[in-house]
C-alpha cells in the first residue's frame, strides 16, 4: 500500500520542502535561531570546558529541530485550511496521513540543517573539538530519533487542526520541550514530578542518546534499550495520530465542518 502512494508522498515532500526553504520564518527557525541559542549557550557554558562544545552543538540543533517540527508539521494541515485546499486533500484517494507524512519529511530534511549549522558554528567559530566519539551509533540514533520526530509531527498536525485552542499555545510549546527534553542541561535540575513528562517525549531519549554517542559514553545495552523505547513511543504517537486523522476525515465527509475555523 505504501509503495502505491510513494509518488504522492514524494510530491508532498518536494512541495513542502521547496516552500519551506524560501520561507523567512523557517529559515530563521532552522538556521538563525539555533545559531543564536548556540552562541548564548557556548557563552554561558564557556567555563564548563571545551568538551561541552559537542553537547551545546547537539542540544541547539535539537532545539531548532523541535521548533521546525512544531511549526512545520503542526501547520501541515492547518495551512491547507488557511489556503482553502483542505477539502481537496481530504477528497483525494491518497490517505491524508500520507500527505502529512510527506510534508513532515520535508520539514525534517530542512530541520537537519539546524543541527549542521550548530555543529559548524561550534567548530569553525569557537574552535571547539567537535569530534563525535561514536559516529556509527550517533547516526543510527539520529535516524531512529528522526523517525520518532516524524511520528510526533503526524500527531501534532491533526491535533492542531481539531483543537484551535491547542494551536494557540504553539509558540508557548517551544521552551517547555527544550527544558523537559534536557537539550542543553540535564533534567536532574528540574523538580521530580516533571520526570514522567520527560519520559513520554521521544526527543528526550533522542537527545540523551545523541549526547552520549557524541561524548563516547554510550553503552551498547543503553543504545538498544532506549532505541526500542524511542520506536515504541513513535508507535504510540502514530496510534494517537491515526485516531485523530479518523476524526478529521469524519468532520470532512460527514459533518462537512472541516474548513470552519
Amino acid at each position: 500500500m505504501f509503495l502505491k502512494y510513494l509518488y504522492a508522498i514524494f510530491a508532498a515532500f518536494k512541495m513542502n520542502f521547496l516552500s519551506l526553504v524560501v520561507d523567512g520564518f523557517f529559515i530563521f527557525a532552522t538556521l538563525l535561531m539555533p545559531l543564536i541559542y548556540a552562541l548564548i549557550a557556548f557563552g554561558i557554558l564557556r567555563d564548563k570546558g571545551a568538551h561541552y562544545g559537542i553537547f551545546v552543538a547537539v542540544g541547539s540543533g535539537l532545539a531548532g529541530l523541535w521548533t521546525t517540527l512544531l511549526f512545520g508539521s503542526g501547520n501541515a494541515i492547518t495551512g491547507e485550511r488557511w489556503s482553502g485546499t483542505l477539502e481537496l486533500i481530504a477528497a483525494t484517494p491518497t490517505p491524508m496521513w500520507m500527505i502529512v507524512f510527506g510534508k513532515s519529511l520535508g520539514v525534517i530534511l530542512q530541520s537537519l540543517l539546524s543541527m549542521v549549522a550548530s555543529y559548524l558554528l561550534g567548530w569553525l567559530v569557537f574552535g571547539y573539538p567537535l569530534g563525535i566519539a561514536q559516529p556509527l551509533e550517533f547516526f543510527l540514533v539520529l535516524f531512529i530519533g528522526l523517525l520518532s520526530f516524524i511520528a510526533f509531527g503526524l500527531m501534532l498536525a491533526p491535533l492542531f487542526l481539531l483543537n484551535p485552542q491547542v494551536q494557540q499555545f504553539q509558540n508557548a510549546l517551544e521552551y517547555p520541550v527544550y527544558i523537559l527534553c534536557g537539550f542543553l542541561f540535564p533534567i536532574a535540575l528540574l523538580p521530580f514530578w516533571t520526570t514522567p513528562l520527560s519520559y513520554i517525549l521521544s526527543p528526550y531519549w533522542t537527545a540523551r542518546l545523541l549526547q552520549a554517542a557524541a561524548g563516547g559514553t554510550l553503552a551498547w545495552e543503553q543504545l538498544v534499550n532506549e532505541s526500542i523505547y524511542i520506536l515504541a513511543l513513535g508507535g504510540v504517537y502514530i496510534l494517537i495520530a491515526s485516531v485523530l486523522f479518523r476524526i478529521v476525515l469524519k468532520k470532512a465527509r460527514v459533518d462537512a465542518t472541516l474548513g470552519l475555523q
Binding site: 523567512g24 520564518f25 529559515i27 530563521f28 538563525l32 535561531m33 543564536i36 552562541l39 548564548i40 549557550a41 557563552g43 554561558i44 557554558l45 564557556r46 567555563d47 564548563k48 484551535p164 485552542q165 494557540q168 499555545f169 504553539q170 509558540n171 508557548a172 517551544e174 521552551y175 517547555p176 527544550y178 527544558i179 542543553l184 542541561f185 540535564p186 535540575l189 528540574l190
Partner: protein, 266 residues
Amino acid sequence: MHQLITNLKLFWQGAALSYVALFSWLRPTTFLASMIIFPLGQILFFTLLGIFATGRDSASFYLIGNAMQITASAGIFGVTMAIGGERWAGTLMYLFGAPANRLTIFAGRATIHIFNGVVQVLMGLAWGLVLGWVSFAHTDPLALGITILIATFSTAALGLLLGCLGLVTLNIMFINNLVYFLLLLFSGANLPITALPQWMQYISWSLPLTRGIAAARFIVDGASLAEVAPLLVGEFFIGVGYLVAGYVLFRIFEIEAKRRGTLEAF
C-alpha cells in the same frame, strides 16, 4: 484646544482599538500563551541553563536579565503587529487616507503594549521571587518601576521602527523574530556585556534594553535611583532615537506608497 482634544481622542482610540483587535483576533488563549506561558518558559530555560553552568548563586543574573528582556515580547511582536498588521488587515489605505495627525496614530499604537510589557516584566520578576531565585530585600521599588517603564518604552520604540518595515516587507515575522532573539544575545540578558567581543559590545550599547537590564540588576542589588540615573537617561534617549527614526520612516513610507500606488501591494 479643540485640535488637542481631537488628537488625544485619536491617540486613545488608536491605542485601545489596535490592542483589542490584536487579541480579539488572536483569541484570549493566545493572550494567555504569549503573555504568561511563553515568558515563563523563556525565564525558566535560561535561568536553569545559567544555574547548570555556574551554580544557583548566579540565578538572579539570568532571571532579572530574562524578565526584563521579556518586555520585548510586547514591545517587538505586539507593537510590530499593531503597525504592520494594518497592511494585513487591509486597513492601511484608510489609515493613510484619514486626515488624522500622524504622530498620534503612530505613537498610539505602542501605548498599551508598553503597559503590557511592564506587566510582563513584573510577572517575570514575581516568578523569580516565587521560585526563590531572586531577593528584593534591598530593592527600591520605585527605582525598579521607573527602570522597567523606561526599558519598556525604548523597546517599544524599536518595535515601532520594525512595524514600519512591516509596511513595506512581507517578511516581518522573520525580522521581528530575528530582532527578538538578537536581543537575547546582545542585551546582556544572558551574557555579561564585558564578555562579548568589542564589536558586539558596540552593537549592545546601541540597542534598547542593554542599559535597562544593567540598571535593574544594580537596583535589585541595592543601588539607588541616582546611582543608575546615567544608565536610565541613556536608555531613554536610545528609545527616543528609535521613536524618531520610526516616525520618519513611517512618513517616508506613507509618502512613497501614495506616490507609487503601492499601499496594498504585496
